[in-house]
Point group: C2
Chain length 216, copies 2
DNA sequence: CAGACTAACCTACACCTGCAAGAAAACCGA
DNA sequence: TCGGTTTTCTTGCAGGTGTAGGTTAGTCTG
């Protein structure tokens, strides 16, 4: 299931070296750790490159040797977490005895994962956050949905016109999940993850035609 | 720069209030026009306050007299367009002869409106865009959905638990529309608006349980 | 271990940011 | 038209940004 996704999955500006060089790893992990610390403290828009570099005990120019700006670091620094997040989305299990149970379980894990790093995700997804990171997450969710659908396409009717590579419903669902997540985070996570899963599941099942008892 | 208007101290917004003063109108419209011009030329992230002020033939400090940064101007400058955009979303017409026809028509208008200012919306919603504007649009769509649903709540089966004030499905649908729109714009609007409407409508109708052609 | 490599650092620069006085100009109502 | 009010402009400042060139020092390889 897992794409490899180490800390440096996203290629920064120059050569994408999944390097063995200790210096690179040291600097990048220090920067990532510093950013994640800072983003739990204040809004992303109030965090400067100098702030991150200082906190990481790294020179400012070393930052620019790896990332173009704070948003790019954020995108890279959260890749592992985002991958884990997306993995917890429900995939239609082809041979499960109780797919509904499975799905709500996965959804609960999804919201729990959000809640676990609520400060981080709220800062990244909110109005003061990073359009870049949000877009990145949405693309990844859409891709995951697309993959999952292709894997089980045999029993799903083609909704999109046959000539269309543009997967509208994946974009639809990915945006929807981000919308729900962002809204929930901004309200301070008023409902527990399990309840959010219970609230979200009917919507997803309506979209994907899993028997939930309401649709013909 | 003044926080309060002398006449209507109750009026909350300084920048958004259409003041009678000709100078204010002149400056604000000049700034808005300049930003919209620039955002059609290059990415929002490459547009500085100085750029906008220069293009608007206005001093930089006059900009700060009205807006905190470029994102705030973008939010204000697009309000009219965004309102028009949201108005073109389908609302369940209670007494329509053919609600499906109505809905796809509204959706077509929605996508056509996006396409008309494709450069603008692509720049605002994309990865280099403004998280602030995106969040703003999402909230407005969610509010519109919420309002529309309340207006027609009598004949809609309640899917969400009754005790929940937190309108998950509105956030879900709002995010979904933004996801579809963003994706479509970033791909360069490959399908015409009518086709996008045809692709999106089944998803919305699955969510809201409108049944095609069965309601005379 | 020694040498080649290259990441990290330093300095410097031109530009942008957000803000704050205060002077100059435009506005509105009487 | 006049006078008070409000807006705009000017000037200045302490930061932050993104880039470039060159130096120092850590790392991998032979």
């Amino acid at each position: 299931m897992s794409i490899k996704g180490k800390l440096t999955d996203v290629a920064p500006k120059d050569s994408n070296t999944p390097t063995g060089d200790r210096r690179v790893r040291r600097t990048q992990t220090a920067l990532a750790r510093a950013l994640i610390q800072l983003v739990e403290e204040r809004d992303l828009s109030r965090i400067s490159v100098s702030d991150v570099a200082d906190r990481a005990e790294v020179s400012r120019s070393a930052f620019y040797d790896h990332y173009r700006d704070v948003h790019e670091l954020a995108e890279a620094a959260c890749t592992a977490m985002i991958d884990a997040l997306i993995e917890s989305l429900p995939v239609p299990a082809p041979d499960s005895a109780d797919p509904v149970q499975d799905a709500t379980h996965s959804l609960t894990a999804f919201f729990a994962s959000l809640a676990e790093h609520a400060g981080l995700y709220r800062s990244l997804l909110g109005p003061q956050g990073s359009a870049r990171v949000t877009d990145h997450i949405r693309r990844r969710i859409a891709a995951a949905i697309h993959r999952a659908r292709e894997a089980t396409a045999d029993h799903l009717p083609e909704r999109a016109p046959s000539g269309s590579p543009h997967d509208v419903s994946a974009a639809f669902t990915a945006g929807a999940m981000i919308g729900v997540a962002t809204d929930w985070l901004q309200r301070g996570c008023p409902h527990p993850p399990a309840e959010m899963a219970a609230l979200t599941w009917p919507l997803l099942s309506a979209l994907y035609g899993v028997e939930a008892g309401t649709r013909p």
